[in-house]
């Protein structure tokens, strides 16, 4: 039995008619109070997974329990304990922000005498108190996102699903939303299932990360564990002159395995080597470089190691290969 606000997924499959498997037999376990980052490129299956877990879409096969309830058999109970902010903020342009909160509170069964105060509290919390009586059609993208988050929180959910909550936001709004999510976990012990295609977001926010590609989970663990799997740092050299690139690549290859990069010349270092070894060797051999940098492994390196592609490249592939597929 899943703990009160955890998520358990086993062998989850979702197939679309005339399409490939958007989700292809995934297993996920999210502990209560945890922020789980679900990372992957466009079309990887992130949103489809969220739609299944939030009872918006029935699975083709497998089981999913959210807060101890089966998403198929106990849909109403699941919906009662989750808050959801989908990728496209589903808002009515003719209603005001306050109207939305009133409607959401009514739908979620918040007590009548608490609806007004809860709406006011949330409007202040997301910084929309001054815009509360304006129609949503006049809101900016960031304001819509913040309203969407407030709506997801109106009934104090135990589990929060955020589907790419910061896509399209400016850096300031993005940071503000991250702080809000971190606060929710810290103060209210809310479990957060967060999908993102931003490595930094998963790295900063998530306790654990699941990386999904083409409907399958290719890696899972804490950001530190995943990076440790890759283990060794990489060295990146930027040549002074473009014609020196092959010579530098050949030289650096003695220190580790080369990495594909169009911007610089890079190698993943062999065990035991540190940056000073490379600097000393470069100096002794008269190799002319404009810049030499040691980089710790990133989640993009993890994605690259697991799939053979970068996240950015995978997203571009998804856009060109799957025009008929639903957004996922």
């Amino acid at each position: 039995m899943t703990e009160k606000n955890g998520i358990e997924v086993e062998g989850l499959v979702r197939e679309y008619k005339k399409g490939p498997r958007a989700v292809d037999g995934i297993d996920i376990s999210v502990a209560p109070g945890e922020i789980y980052g679900f990372l992957g490129p466009n079309g990887a299956g992130k949103s489809t997974t969220v739609h299944v877990l939030t009872t918006l879409l029935p699975p083709t096969a497998g089981t999913a329990r959210v807060g101890g309830y089966d998403v198929i058999k106990d849909g109403p109970k699941v919906r009662g304990l989750i808050g959801v902010a989908l990728q496209e903020a589903a808002l009515d342009p003719l209603l005001t922000g306050r109207d939305h909160l009133r409607l959401q509170a009514t739908l979620q069964g918040v007590r009548k005498n608490q609806r007004h105060s809860r709406a006011e509290e949330l409007l202040h919390r997301v910084g929309l108190a001054d815009a509360a009586d304006r129609k949503v059609s006049g809101y900016s993208g960031g304001m819509k996102r913040r309203l969407d988050l407030a709506l997801a929180l109106v009934h104090s959910p135990r589990i929060l699903f955020l589907d790419e909550p910061t896509t399209g936001l400016d850096p300031q709004s993005r940071t503000a939303l991250w702080e809000e999510v971190a606060l929710l976990r810290r103060e209210d012990r809310v479990t957060v299932f967060l999908t993102t295609q931003y490595l930094e977001e998963a790295d900063v926010l998530a306790d654990r990360v699941g990386i999904i590609d083409q409907g399958k989970i290719v890696a899972e663990g804490t950001p530190a564990e995943l990076k440790a799997e890759i283990g060794r740092p990489s060295v990146h050299a930027i040549p002074h002159r473009e014609e020196d690139r092959p010579r530098i690549a050949e030289f650096l290859a003695q220190f580790g395995e080369p990495l594909a990069s169009s911007r610089d010349v890079a190698v993943r270092l062999r065990d035991g080597l540190v940056l000073t070894d490379i600097v000393r060797a470069v100096d002794q051999n008269g190799i002319d470089v404009a810049d030499l940098e040691l980089r710790a492994p990133t989640l993009d390196d993890v994605f690259l190691a697991k799939t053979g592609r970068t996240l950015e490249g995978a997203a571009e592939e998804a856009e060109t290969e799957q025009p008929a597929m639903r957004p996922a």
């Binding site: 919906r79 009662g80 589903a90 003719l94 739908l107 069964g109």
Partner: protein, 254 residues
């Protein structure tokens, strides 16, 4: 369940009544039809065989009342289709513990929306000199019959909206209702119809609703039980159609 019904109805009504782009056409169409038919065709009551006692204004009032009931339902179905197309329906499906409350909320909104139109239409008809031969019970019967037509109109169009989930399905919602309304004795009593239109009208349920409704206004309603049984039967059929549509929308992930 009531929270969902009332929430959805409140939001739908707020949009429908406070936004001129939605409110004005809903109100203007029935008034236009009433003015055009009752005013422009009023000489039809002098046609031999036209023996409707309260006169042509009352004769047309009943048709326009039933038509406004059906179309208030259909227009609410348009709103539902727009909500699916625009994604707002996802919010409703995610928030509502019991999703049948969403459909019932729209149905309640359709009814309230029609009631506003019905009040205005009735006042205009009375000002225009409509004669009423029936008593209070007769008039209640007329409005209850129209309310059942309103439910049928919404559940029909709502079923289409939830299957297609796009406003592009609007003609499919509207056209059959338009046809079934106008293939009934709209301008003259059924006994004055001839040829194919008489044949179609004789099997059209709206013919019976009109006859009973006009009878209520005249104070001498024919086949009341039959008309109500037919309206309730159609209501149950379209209710089923709408709820199966909801299941389709759920299976498709809205």
């Amino acid at each position: 369940m009531w929270d969902v019904v009332s929430g959805v109805a409140w939001r739908t009504l707020k949009n429908a009544l406070l936004n001129p782009q939605i409110a004005i056409p809903t109100m203007l169409f029935p008034l236009f039809f009433f003015t055009a038919f009752a005013g422009g065709l009023s000489q039809l009551d002098k046609v031999p065989g036209f023996d409707y006692e309260p006169g042509y204004t009352a004769f047309q009032f009943v048709f326009v009342l039933l038509q406004s009931a059906a179309f208030s339902g259909v227009f609410t179905g348009f709103g539902l289709a727009r909500d699916f197309e625009g994604g707002f329906a996802k919010r409703l499906l995610l928030a509502a513990p019991h999703r049948s409350g969403i459909v019932l909320g729209y149905a309640l909104a359709a009814m309230c929306r029609w009631l506003v139109v019905a009040v205005v239409l009735t006042v205009v008809a009375l000002v225009a000199g409509m004669n009423i031969g029936g008593g209070v019970v007769d008039l209640i019967g007329l409005y209850v019959l129209a309310a059942l037509v309103n439910f049928c109109g919404f559940f029909w169009s709502g079923g289409i909206a939830m299957r297609f989930r796009t406003i592009q399905a609007a003609p499919l919602m509207q056209m059959p209702v338009f046809l079934v309304l106008f293939f009934a004795p709209v301008y003259v009593p059924q006994k004055l119809l001839e040829g194919w239109i008489e044949g179609v009208a004789s099997v059209n349920p709206v013919t019976y609703f009109l006859a009973t409704g006009r009878g209520f206004v005249a104070g001498d309603a024919p086949h009341v039980l039959g008309a109500f049984a037919l309206a309730i039967g159609l209501g149950v059929a379209f209710w089923t159609w709408a709820f199966l549509g909801l299941r389709k929308a759920e299976a498709a992930g809205a």
